[in-house]
Subunit: 208 residues, 2 copies
């Protein structure tokens, strides 16, 4: 314990990240309301005192997960890779395929951590909702930014409403994770991918 | 209390329904893991003994909510009204519009009770998942049955894959409730409706 306390004082940022990551995993597995602070502490090597040094309540820890982990996850998984595509519509489809193909059987039935927290907590705690809404808004905003780029590059009809399309894409992606989670059937991702592809290509200037 | 006990023995089915309905509302508001049996009992007029006469555990109560309330809700809201449409594709779009228009501001941020329970509980408890999966499967199966009818009546292309389309419709509907819940913005329903309509009409034999 003493060594740990020393480590913490030497590298407080690392200790905080360690707690956040352990909490994220526990919550992903059991739900936010299904996890206690004691359970989270047991998954780390920190003391109760150290935990409360970083997060004064479980809610505060939950907000930090939204602000930091989920926000970064959306950017890393869905947004940043789009920069590499001349036609970001193809990038969006490719990300859906890549991310769903890569899911382990375990994560398949755990679904999307952002979706889980949103469905569980955003009506229970308005402050939680504000955080989750900010992450969702970022996802839609950034998707729209790339759809505009696709439009400028001639890969999307001039008449396409990019905001409407971005909202539909994010709703469909979250809906897909939700449905596959409940059906526990990987094949449904392929079915949903095919529909999303048909839809997006029907919005394209020319067949891709 | 004595009167209540008598009532219960006189009409056990009614008492059971009363507990189920109160539990459903409490869970819709606070999440399954956010509600205790004591909280549910306080919302009814039954004794603790009466409660345990009908449901031996909180999980058993949750399963009954899926098997009975959520199943009936899907049939009542999404499926049975389709029988009145010569073109069930129009019926599906109309239901989406009617149900989202009718949502109170409170329910808007509470979202879809089936979606909430699924995202919260289906990875936490495999027996819960089986129940929720059965409800979701019924929704997809019945949607597909009506899409086939639309196809037979010439309102959907012969080449349209009705299973794929049914899965996409349900995923989109659940994703829509999820997104609006997190954004707390009613206008997004209209945006998502427009996209779903464009997509379904592009699958139609002729413009509707």
């Amino acid at each position: 314990m003493k060594t740990e306390e020393k480590k913490r004082s030497r590298d407080p940022e690392k200790t905080r990240s360690l707690i956040l990551e352990a909490a994220f995993q526990e919550i992903y597995e059991h739900g936010f309301q299904g996890v206690s602070i004691d359970q989270i502490i047991r998954k780390t090597n920190v003391t109760k005192g150290a935990f409360f040094h970083y997060f004064s309540t479980k809610s505060e820890l939950g907000y930090a997960i939204a602000d930091e982990i989920l926000r970064e996850m959306v950017l890393e998984r869905w947004i940043r890779p789009l920069a590499a595509y001349k036609n970001p519509v193809q990038g969006i489809l490719r990300r859906f395929k890549t991310l769903t193909d890569a899911m382990s059987d375990e994560d398949l039935v755990r679904g999307c951590p952002l979706n889980n927290l949103t469905q569980e907590m955003s009506s229970v705690d308005p402050l939680f909702r504000e955080r989750l809404k900010a992450v969702m808004t970022l996802w839609i905003d950034e998707t729209e930014r790339y759809l505009k780029k696709a439009q400028e590059n001639g890969y999307l009809k001039k008449t396409a409403n990019t905001r409407q399309l971005a909202e539909f894409i994010v709703a469909t992606e979250e809906g897909s994770f939700g449905l596959v989670k409940s059906m526990a059937d990987r094949k449904i991702y392929t079915s949903l991918y095919n529909s999303l592809r048909d839809y997006l290509l029907s919005r394209a200037e020319t067949e891709q």
